[in-house]
C-alpha cells in the first residue's frame, strides 16, 4: 500500500533526529503603538480605516460610503442595516448579488493589517469573499503586534475554518501592475471602534 511504502521510505531516508528550536518572542517585540501601526498597515495593503466612537457612527459611515447599496448582510449587533438574513441562505449562488457584508473581526495584526475572522463570526464561509464590498467592525483594543502574538491568541482555536484578511482582493498578474479587486471583495473598510 502506498501509505506504508511512503512511510517506510521516509523512515529509511530521514536524517538523525534534530530538536525543535526554542522560540524567543522577545526578539520580535517592538515598542510601537499598536493602533497607529495597524492603521498604517491597513492603508499599505489597500484597505481603509474609519475610526468611530459608537455603532450609530458605523451605520452613518456605511450609508455615506455606499448610499445605493440594497443587498446587505450585517452580522454585527446594533448595526441593523441588513436587508438579507444569512440564516435563509443555503448556497453561495444565493449570495451572488450581495453588495455589502458587515462582519465583526476578532482581532487585528499591527504588522500586516490582517484581521482574523472565523466560523464563529459568520455561518456561511463564502460571505467575506463573494460580497462586492467587505466591511469589518473591529474593537481598537483587539489589536496584537505581530503574527506570533496572533497565534498565541489562537492557541485554543477549535473552529473548522478561519482566515486572516489583509486588505481587499488584489492581483498584479498583468505586468506587475497592481489592481485592487480581483476575484473576491473589491474593497475593505474597517470600522475601528473604541471599546464601549
Amino acid at each position: 500500500m502506498s501509505r506504508e511504502n511512503i512511510l517506510k521510505k521516509i523512515r529509511t531516508n530521514k536524517p538523525a533526529f534534530q530538536l525543535l528550536p526554542e522560540i524567543d518572542l522577545k526578539k520580535f517585540r517592538t515598542n510601537l503603538d499598536l493602533e497607529e501601526e495597524f492603521v498604517k498597515s491597513v492603508g499599505s495593503v489597500g484597505g481603509k480605516i474609519i475610526k468611530v466612537e459608537n455603532k450609530e457612527e458605523i451605520k452613518r459611515g456605511i450609508k455615506s460610503l455606499f448610499p445605493d447599496a440594497k443587498e446587505i448582510i450585517s452580522l454585527v449587533d446594533d448595526v441593523d442595516i441588513g436587508t438579507i438574513n444569512l440564516g435563509t441562505i443555503s448556497s453561495a449562488k444565493e449570495l451572488e448579488k450581495l453588495e455589502l457584508a458587515i462582519i465583526k473581526g476578532e482581532f487585528g495584526v499591527a504588522e500586516n493589517g490582517a484581521v482574523w475572522l472565523s466560523d464563529k463570526n459568520f455561518t456561511h464561509r463564502s460571505l467575506p469573499f463573494i460580497t462586492l464590498h467587505l466591511i469589518i467592525v473591529l474593537e481598537s483594543e483587539n489589536i496584537v503586534e505581530n503574527m506570533h502574538e496572533a497565534f498565541l491568541r489562537l492557541s485554543d482555536f477549535n473552529e473548522g475554518y478561519g482566515v486572516f484578511i489583509s486588505g481587499p482582493s488584489k492581483t498584479a498578474d498583468i505586468e506587475q501592475s497592481l489592481v485592487i479587486g480581483a476575484q473576491a471583495a473589491l474593497s475593505l473598510n474597517i470600522f475601528l471602534i473604541k471599546n464601549t
Binding site: S126, M147, H148, F151, G160, F164, A182, Q183
Partner: protein, 462 residues
Amino acid sequence: MTGHPEAAEIFNRNEAHVNWHDQALWFVREKRDKASSQIKGWEELRQLASEIKAHTLSNLNEYLIQFEKEATKNNVNVHWAEDAIEHNKIVYEILQAHNMKRIVKSKSMLTEECGLNHYLEEKGIEVIDTDLGERIVQLAKEPPSHIVMPAIHKKREEIDQLFHLHLNTELSGGDEVYLTREARKHLRQKFLDADAAITGVNFGIAETGGFVVCTNEGNADMGVHSTKLHIACMGLEKLVPKFEHLGIFLRLLARSATGQPITTYSSYFKSPQQGDGMHIVIVDNGRSAQLGRSDFRSSLHCIRCGACMNTCPVYRRSGGYSYGSTIPGPIGSILSPGFDLQKYSSLPFASTLCGSCADVCPVKIDIHKQLYNWRQIITEKTHVSFSKKIIMKATGLVFSHPKIFQLSSKFAKGFLRTIPRSLVNNLSGKWTKQRELPETPGYTFAEWYKKNRQQDVIGKKR
C-alpha cells in the same frame, strides 16, 4: 536534447523583452528587500524557519501519521500517492464518485508537477485555473513561467489579445483594470457553476490536521466555499509541527515572495462546512528519495516563495521556460536533477554560483552549494561534452601549478590581443554569444600588483 543554454538562447533573441523581464523581476526583489528590512528579527525568523523545517524532516514519518490522524478526526479524508500517476488517479476517482465534471482550481505547483489538468481534461472534466496569472497561461496553453507570478513573461498586449480571443473582451491596449474586471466576471460564473474545488497547500499542521492556503485574489476561497467538495493536494514536505509555527512562516512567505507583509488571504481549513466534503492527497513523487540525499535534503525546506528566481541573474535573463522543469530557477535546478538526472543535467550549470539565491531564501537553503554539488555528480555520471572536459582538465592543471599559471597568463595576454575576435568567441563557446570580452590590458595582474601594491604591503608590514 535541448538544455538550458539552447532554450535561453531562444529567449535572448528579443533583447528588449529580456531587459524588460530582468527589470520586472528585479523590481520584485527590491520590494522583498524593503519588506524584510522593515521588521525586527528577520534573520532570527529565517533561522527559526530553517530549524523547524530541518526538525520536521528528521521526524517526518511521525508527523505525517499525526497529521493523518488529526485530519481524519476533523472529518477530512486523507489519501496517499506515491507518484504523479497515483495522485491524478485518486483525484479523478473522488470526482467520479460524486459525478463531478466542472472543477475550479487555485494555484498549485504540485498539480502542475503531476500534470493533473491534462489528465482530467482527457477524461472529459473541465478544469479552470482561477488565479488570474494561471488563467492567462492556461488560455495561452502554456505552463507557468514562475511559481508565484505565472504570467510574468507576458506583455499586456499579448494578454489583451488572448482575452479578446477567448473571453470576447474589447481590445483595450492591455488596460490592466479592464482586463482584471473582465476576468473577474468570467471567473465568477465559473466559481458558481463549479462542482468541486481543487487547491494546493502552503502549510499542513501536524498538531491539528488543518492546512493553510494563501492567495491574494481570494480565488482559493471563492472556489472552495462555492462548491460542495474540496480536494487539497499537498507535497509531503509541506508539514510544520505546530499551529503556532504558522506565525513564523506566514511572516516570511509573502515578504519574500512579493514584498507584501502577508498575502491578502491566509485561509486555515480544518474541517469541511456542514454537508460538504474535504479530501487531502499527500504526495511523495520523489520527495522521500530527495530526503535520502544528504547533500540535497534541505531543498525540501522550500516554501515556494520564488525569491531565488527574482534575484537570480540567470533566471531574470533566461526566463522560466528555459529550465524545462515545473519549478524553474535556482530551487528548480536543485530539485529537478533528483527527478531525472539526465534530462535536467544542464540546470545546475545555469548559475553563476553568486549565492544571491541562498541570501534571500527565507528557509536558508544553501542553493548555490547544492548547485555545485549537483555539478560534481553530473560531470561524473552523465555525458559532458568533450570540449568542456578538456577545458576543465587544462584549467585544473594550470591553476594547480603556479609556474605554468604565470607563463600561460603572459601568453594569454599577447594571444588575446593579436588573434581575431571571432576566433576567441568561437573558443569560448556560449559565453560570448550575448557579450564581448573586455579589452585585455598590456600587463598581467601579477605585474600590475608588483608595480602598484607590493611596496605598500611590505611598507606596512615594516
